[in-house]
Symmetry: C2
Subunit: 316 residues, 2 copies
């Protein structure tokens, strides 16, 4: 067996997930182990190195077939140097991830942030398979993003491209402040957090909605209520979809991608949400920029991270 | 002399401008001749070929030093194939520009649209020299755009990336219809045409402004009146600057470019305009995405086209 293999590592706050992919992005083998954030940076990095050795050892592939290891991790990175400047949830500050792991494993290592890596995973081997230009939105606690042009992640000059959740898309008159400090960011209306906030405000205002009966409102409650015809919930979901559609309309004229991929918990609402996004996108995008452009759900789910991380070696 | 040279061709409605550049983007020699649009596609293409031979013949360089010919031209192109689908002002429909010229001249030819080529010119040898990631806006009759990532033009999957004038940035409540048919495009407020329209509306409405004394209002009249303190003109220019700043704030989180370059007639207003754009950009862009990001005027003027076209050979 001389086929090349690629290990992808998705470093989360509690668990490190790993996968072995082939050159087509097929996930051949998986592994996971605890991150052990509480034990500090050295332990985290040693754990990653151990798990990489482990997944290859347990697989039918040999270490010699390994072309490299890709790491997806949340935080502010210097991407070309694989250097973590600041990762709030992993307590990694000024850590040379690439340098440590390349020395420890004696193999090529590439590092990128989790949202970019998920976008690459979907572009390479998921909803965007075969497509060279696409944009991914991940609708979760925030709105994450990743942009793939000519098959590769757009990193930006200071490694912070693809921060789609912070597009200041809501007009001043109805904008609220985002966690980033600025007004009107997309994630204030289109993230799970934004949807929950709008629902809680409606309940507090005394709006007539079935959501008053929900003790702790989750985004899914709002989406389900909207599907069931609740008017207040419908208005909230339409607003989330409206600004997603408008942001895609901008992205279409800026980058002319072939495909928008939408993942994360909120995207599970399916066609109910996607149809509204598509309608707004259609309305605000000039003809030449929307011809044959698709807006589709992500398909890899939680595997996007490990698959995309493995893809960094071929397309990072 | 074995130094490589690059010929850039800027095909306009009346004149074809040509330049010879070296590998650093220095403009070494220029030439121009009539386009002769009225004589049809064959004449236009033959003229271009003749002028290319002419500029090299008149120069101290030999044909053997020529690495290729880049063409910048307005219209809807299939960029990778150098094929003009539709050029309204040159009456070129379904014309294989690259194929014709490569056969005629027996040399590598690359074709791209005029706005992208101007952006490449500024990025390569103008205001963005040494910068790998930048975005250019050209504020003229419309708002043109071009995006350079990792030193190269972003073309998009159907060759229509960089259409920054058609970002639907104006909120519904104050949006008007753009020439493209959609509502709220950037060029409805930030182009020379948009500025003139807003001024004419103000005069027609009877607003108190010095512009009532101008027979045929040009964008420069509005900019000059604003600089002189005219309140109505100031409001119009601020609005143009506001939406430019907001569009750059979006672009900054999407692409994290190092530099925004602004050219075209309206940009000649200088700091008066740029300071307002910068203020809005500052207000709506999260910290990480604006760190060390510059907003600067274009410097190549009318030469951006020929220089950028020559650059297509090295970076297209």
């Amino acid at each position: 067996m001389s086929e090349k293999i690629y290990v992808g590592v998705d470093v989360g706050g509690t668990t490190v997930k790993l996968g072995i992919c082939n050159a087509e992005g097929e996930l051949l083998q998986t592994y996971e182990g605890p991150t052990e954030v509480n034990k500090g940076p050295d332990t985290i990095l040693h754990n990653i190195a151990t798990y990489v050795r482990q997944i290859v050892e347990e697989s039918p592939y040999s270490w010699e077939q390994l072309a490299g290891v890709g790491i997806g991790i949340a935080g502010f990175l210097d991407i070309p140097n694989g250097f973590m400047k600041h990762s709030p949830n992993l307590y990694l500050n000024n850590v040379d991830i690439k340098g440590f792991l390349e020395k420890e494993l004696n193999i090529l290592v590439k590092v990128n942030n989790d949202a970019n890596v998920a976008a690459l995973g979907e572009a390479w081997a998921g909803a965007g398979r075969g497509i060279q230009n696409c944009v991914m939105y991940t609708l979760g606690t925030g709105v994450g993003g990743g942009i793939i042009i000519d098959g590769k992640i757009v990193e930006g000059f200071q490694s912070v491209a693809g921060e789609l959740g912070h597009m200041a898309i809501v007009p001043d008159l109805e904008a609220i402040q985002c966690g980033c400090g600025k007004m009107g960011c997309l994630e204030t209306v289109s993230s799970a957090t934004g949807i929950i906030r709008m629902a809680e405000e409606a309940v507090a205002r005394g709006d007539r909605t079935s959501l008053v009966n929900v003790e702790k409102i989750m985004a899914k409650d709002v989406l389900d209520a909207a599907k069931a015809g609740d008017e207040v919930a419908t208005r909230i979901v339409s607003r989330a979809a409206y600004y997603l559609g408008r942001s895609m309309a901008m992205m279409a004229v800026i980058l002319n991608p072939e495909c928008f991929i939408v993942g994360g918990g909120v995207a599970k609402a399916g066609d109910f949400l996607f149809d509204q996004i598509r309608e707004v996108f259609e309305k605000y995008t000039q003809d030449a920029s929307k011809e044959n452009v698709k807006i589709v759900p992500a398909v890899l789910g939680n595997n996007a991270g490990v698959v995309g991380a493995a893809g960094l070696i071929l397309r990072g």
